[in-house]
């Protein structure tokens, strides 16, 4: 099976065959013959010759993985070729969705629907864990929609407002 992956910003292609514990992998042309055990959920014990690697993998979003190897933590995106386009879709041409970077509570709105905003101007203030965060518009435009009100609880990546 072939996969496209992005790891710490680097694009790589991975070809991987697994038969029980044996894994053959080709990463950007580098060949690995591995033995892999999974002693805990999300924990891969990878034997490569004499070397052994304990890799912990977990995911926040469906295609974004965090992998910890001893002292190193990697961010990896595993890309399904078919869905590649839809993932790239994320930032639309003309419209800009302002999303919550973290779960939290909407403390106040700094602008109203219909207001014009400059790039870098704050629109909504979200608070979590005693820290307030101004969610800013990255471009100039008009706020066509505000989807939250003060006091609302929001999830990470939830759309708060739309700027056109």
């Amino acid at each position: 099976m072939k996969y496209e992956a992005e790891i710490d910003g680097r694009q790589i292609s991975i070809e991987l065959e697994r038969r029980d514990r044996s894994v053959s992998a080709m990463v950007d042309g580098r060949r690995y013959e591995l033995e892999v055990l999974c002693p805990e959920r999300g924990l891969y014990l990878i034997f490569a010759g004499e070397r052994v690697y304990e890799a912990r993998a977990w995911s926040a979003e469906s295609d974004l993985f965090t992998v910890k190897l001893r002292d190193r933590v990697f961010s990896a995106r595993v890309i399904d070729r078919k869905h590649r386009r839809s993932v790239a879709d994320h930032s639309d041409e003309g419209r800009q969705q302002l999303t919550a970077p973290m779960p939290g509570k909407v403390v106040r709105l700094l602008r109203e629907q219909g207001d014009e905003v400059e790039a870098g101007q704050g629109v909504v203030v979200v608070e979590a864990m005693k820290m307030q965060n101004e969610i800013k518009s990255t471009k100039a435009g008009r706020i066509v929609e505000i989807r939250v009100a003060a006091g609302d609880t929001v999830n990470a990546n939830q759309v708060l407002a739309v700027v056109e």
Binding site: I7, A55, S59, T66, V67
Partner: protein
């Protein structure tokens, strides 16, 4: 000794106090907001009282609810931990009027230390060195010039009503002072509707140390060495160590005795911490006193071998200190990392949420004080401290090596934490040399948390990143397979279930 003690706090510090209670045969009573009913401190307590909805202003900060919970359960004493009501003199008075004992100083001492002006006055009266300058408003630019000439440049102009850096101006030479003075005044007026500005000597690249002390009701005091707290981010401590790499035995004695004099002058009782700034010439200046147990108290416990929470409870129960100044011997070195639910890759944004998996280090010289568990959903209503990882070893160097080892064993999955940031700090050359001041972390972050790779590490990096990518793909496959498999299995077991039912019939 008390039979029952109420803990007016949550998170790791509440757990810490529950443990001390268990070890002293005192029954621990927890309080909790609606967000915390299944929190670790509740799980470990004997009794638990619900005190309101999630916002702390409606729960942990409501004096009447805390007192009522103590009354209802028959608790004789209240430990406030840190934060929340711990430095609230009104609370201290309310506890007293209710006929209960607060594990902490009297309200009078809290009040003195609660205001910058009165704390500075108390320190001066006690003969402790303070940052040269005045907290009185400056009448004119001439007065500012005269005072600056006395203290020596650079100086800092500060808004008397100020905070958060507004109305502050650094002045490096006499030429700058007139314009700085008028700018500071107008900024102060705009921000606080009060144009008063005062002057202080500016300490360049200061270190921040603090003396732990404890006193009993008979007025005996003991200081338990210092802690180095220079590693701060936005004035929030992130890494502390004990002892400080720059303090020697003689300086420790001088600063320690200074701290005790300040505490004594304020009529202090129980555990407290006196903070000092230290300049490049190792002059130290009184900064403030924290009239409560500190987050970072475990590193002092590790180095001195004394249990501060046990001692706090004993002293509050009227016992004399169980040790004298001569009994305090500093052994080895300890470091604390505050594990916050914040994303170091994303400007330290808070990251509350579900802890999917949790793996904590153990073995020699490792101490974990944690308020979380696997499956706990970290609420967004409180501060982001999840746990404290402390290490102890024979020397500072060995402690840093142990810290790196322990951090590597540590994994918190599901939310973002500062673990990764600490892994980088523990491998930073300047940190390892002990060369830092309160500006270290900002500079370190500006440099992108980079650590110097030993030679040959680049190859290792490439291989590691390949292995990580393979693990990610394996995990992606497994997750996909599990989805399919679990459905398939379940359908099968459904069939079996039907099969069994029909057999029984």
């Amino acid at each position: 000794m008390f039979k029952k003690l109420l803990i007016a706090n949550r998170g790791e510090i509440a757990v810490r106090i529950v443990r001390a209670c268990r070890e002293m045969g005192v029954s621990p009573v927890a309080v909790y907001s609606s967000a915390d009913q299944s929190a670790l401190h509740v799980r470990l307590a004997d009794e638990a009282i619900h005190i309101g909805p999630a916002p702390s202003s409606e729960s942990y900060l409501v004096i009447e609810k805390i007192i009522a919970a103590a009354k209802r359960t028959g608790a004789e004493a209240i430990h406030p931990g840190y934060g929340f009501l711990s430095e609230n003199a009104e609370f201290a008075l309310a506890v007293e009027s209710a006929g209960l004992t607060l594990i902490g100083p009297p309200a009078s001492a809290m009040k003195i230390m609660g205001s910058k002006t009165s704390a500075r006055r108390a320190a001066i009266e006690a003969g402790a060195p303070v940052v040269p300058g005045t907290t009185q408003p400056l009448a004119s630019v001439e007065e500012a010039e005269a005072l600056a000439a006395t203290t020596g440049y650079p100086v800092m102009l500060k808004a008397a009503a100020g905070g958060g850096g507004r109305g502050m101006r650094l002045v490096r030479s006499p030429a700058e002072i007139a314009s700085a003075f008028s700018l500071a005044r107008s900024e102060a007026e705009a921000s606080f509707k009060d144009s008063s500005v005062y002057i202080e000597k500016y300490i360049e690249r200061p270190r921040h140390i603090e003396i732990q002390l404890i006193g009993d009701r008979e007025g005996d005091f003991v200081y338990l060495g210092e802690r180095e707290c220079s590693l701060q981010r936005r004035h929030q401590k992130v890494v502390e160590e004990c002892p400080s790499p720059v303090v020697d035995e003689e300086m420790r004695r001088r600063v320690g005795e200074s701290a005790v004099r300040v505490a004594r002058a304020a009529g202090y009782v129980n555990a407290g911490t006196v903070e000092f700034l230290v300049d490049r010439e190792k002059n130290f200046y009184f900064l403030e006193m924290n009239t409560r147990l500190q987050v970072e108290h475990p590193i002092t416990e590790l180095v001195t071998g004394r249990d501060l929470v046990h001692e706090q409870i004993r002293v509050a129960a009227g016992e004399r200190l169980s040790f004298s100044q001569d009994d305090i011997i500093m052994r080895g070195a300890a470091i604390e990392c505050r594990i916050y639910a914040e994303d170091p890759q994303n400007d330290f944004l808070p990251s509350p949420g579900l802890i999917k998996r949790l793996s904590m280090p153990s073995g020699p010289g490792v101490r974990i004080d944690s308020g979380i568990y696997e499956g706990w959903k970290v609420p967004l209503d409180y501060d982001s401290l999840l746990a404290k990882l402390c290490v102890w070893a024979e020397t500072r160097e060995a402690a840093i090596n142990r810290l790196a080892r322990a951090l590597d064993e540590c994994a918190i999955e599901g939310i973002q934490t500062t673990l990764e940031f600490f892994r980088a700090v523990s491998r930073d050359r300047e940190f390892r040399l002990g060369n830092f001041d309160t500006g270290f972390i900002d500079r370190f972050l500006a440099d992108g948390m980079k650590t110097d790779n030993p030679e040959g590490e680049d190859d290792r990096d490439a291989q590691l990143s390949d292995i990580a990518a393979i693990a990610a793909v394996l995990h992606a496959k497994e997750r996909a397979a599990k989805l399919d498999l679990s459905s398939a299995q379940a359908v099968e077991s459904r069939w079996k279930l039907y099969g069994r039912i029909s057999q029984r019939r």
